[in-house]
């Protein structure tokens, strides 16, 4: 156990800046404030967790245009392009326990079936950086995603997404230091392959005051990592989160692990209350 950070998530459902969107160009915004209190000596700071997405469907394929009836079992196939970004920012980067920002562009295809779930594949180009943009890297590759509702019980959901990307570390100070690359060498770090997986499981349950269970795991691994990277434990990152939704809109959550650019594992406890602004 290296660093213990208390995350008090105040889900105040701030008004969104999304506004009206054209049917074919749908930006979505999500901003959520968070108070982070690190017991590692960094004090307390206010953070902002954000997620932005802009998607444009290119075409949708369907087979019942000549019928007046609705067919919920119809096969849905879609091509779309999208831009998205997510991360957590704080006034001081050193206090940010989730110091990893992502910016991605994808061209994807999606197939949704009646009984076997929904599948998606996409080609991806991305840019990853820490909050201060001192460490940054380009990534390009592909992703595959699968999701199925009502898998084990009524209205539960299992989602898996995996990607393989080639990482071009344009400036990664930690990696450069670990590999002994300094000066001009720091700017010429070799590219490497990275495989990542993210799993999500959600289920409504009714055990005492518990009403919902949510599990999320994110795993990143560098393929054929140099020994120095392995010794510094920079080749693998795992972040796991469990969240229990309770009655009266109260929730408790615990997460442990790290993301790329994090040097230490963080243990993050969250206790919060969701308040719906009307």
């Amino acid at each position: 156990m290296n660093t213990r950070t208390i995350l008090l998530a105040i889900a105040l459902m701030l008004p969104s800046a999304a506004g009206a969107q054209a049917p074919s160009l749908k930006p979505t915004f999500d901003f959520k404030p968070a108070v982070l209190d690190s017991k590692d000596g960094a004090g307390t700071t206010l953070g902002l967790e954000y997620a932005l997405k802009l998607q444009r469907p290119l075409t949708t394929f369907g087979s019942d245009a000549n019928s007046n009836s609705l067919d919920p079992s119809t096969l849905v196939r879609q091509l779309a392009v999208s831009l998205d970004s997510r991360g957590v920012v704080t006034p001081e980067a050193a206090r940010n326990p989730r110091n990893f920002l992502e910016f991605n562009g994808t061209l994807g295809a999606l197939v949704s079936t009646a009984t076997a779930g929904t599948f998606g594949v996409a080609a991806k180009v991305g840019y990853e950086a820490d909050q201060s943009f001192i460490s940054k890297q380009l990534v390009y590759g592909g992703t595959a995603t699968y999701g199925k509702i009502t898998l084990l019980g009524a209205n539960d959901f299992l989602g898996l997404t995996t990607s393989y990307v080639q990482v071009d570390p344009t400036a990664d100070t930690v990696r450069a230091f670990t590999l002994g690359a300094t000066g001009a060498g720091a700017a010429e770090l070799e590219q490497y392959g990275r495989w990542s997986v993210e799993g999500l499981y959600m289920a409504p349950i009714s055990i005492g005051p518990v009403r919902a269970l949510e599990l999320n795991v994110r795993y990143y691994t560098e393929l054929s990592a140099p020994d120095a990277i392995k010794r510094a434990k920079l080749d693998n990152h795992v972040l796991g989160t469990i969240r229990l939704g309770l009655t009266n809109d109260i929730f408790v959550a615990y997460s442990v692990g790290s993301l790329p650019f994090d040097r230490n594992d963080d243990h993050v406890y969250a206790l919060g209350w969701s308040y719906k602004l009307k």
């Binding site: 459902m13 999304a18 849905v76 999606l110 995603t145 209205n155 959901f157 999500l200 919902a212």
Partner: protein, 152 residues
């Protein structure tokens, strides 16, 4: 401008979202019908709270959109409101479910625009039918008052 009220689209949307045998996204004791229109979809049970991965949210939105349409067709005798494919309707509904800032009223508006309920005419959406109903109800009430007046 779409208004949340007791018309087919709003009632059907509420019933499918709330029903224990349907999507079971909230309890009617917590969110009564009158207040449901302004509730954001991101507060409902289906929307993940531990991740904002766009790919996962996208497949989830398609799964729940299909299930939403499936329950609508099982409980209500509905057809398409305008030419097009069911796939296009599922895509449109999925886009709403994927946006946590969208409200239940906006979902009902999409239902109203794309799905026709049994008592709607060929050229009218459900909101137009609701307006047409009001005058008849007033006429019926006036007729009742006149009858009661004569009886006294």
């Amino acid at each position: 401008m779409f208004t949340w009220k007791e018309n087919n689209a709003c009632v059907a949307t509420y019933k499918v979202l709330e029903g224990d045998s349907f999507l079971d996204q909230f309890e009617d004791a917590d969110i009564p019908f009158e207040e449901a229109g302004s509730v954001k979809l991101g507060t409902l049970r289906y929307f993940p709270k531990t991740t904002n991965n766009a790919d996962l949210i996208e497949v989830l939105s398609f799964e729940i959109a299909r299930k939403f349409i499936k329950h609508l067709t099982k409980v209500f005798t509905v057809t398409k409101e305008k030419p097009g494919t069911t796939a296009e309707i599922i895509v449109a509904v999925a886009a709403v479910f994927a946006d946590k800032e969208k409200t239940i009223a906006e979902l009902a508006e999409l239902v109203d625009e794309n799905i026709r309920f049994p008592d709607e005419s060929d050229t009218q959406s459900d909101t137009t039918v609701a307006k047409r109903r009001a005058p008849r109800r007033r006429a019926e009430r006036n007729a009742e008052r006149n009858t009661e007046g004569k009886q006294r």
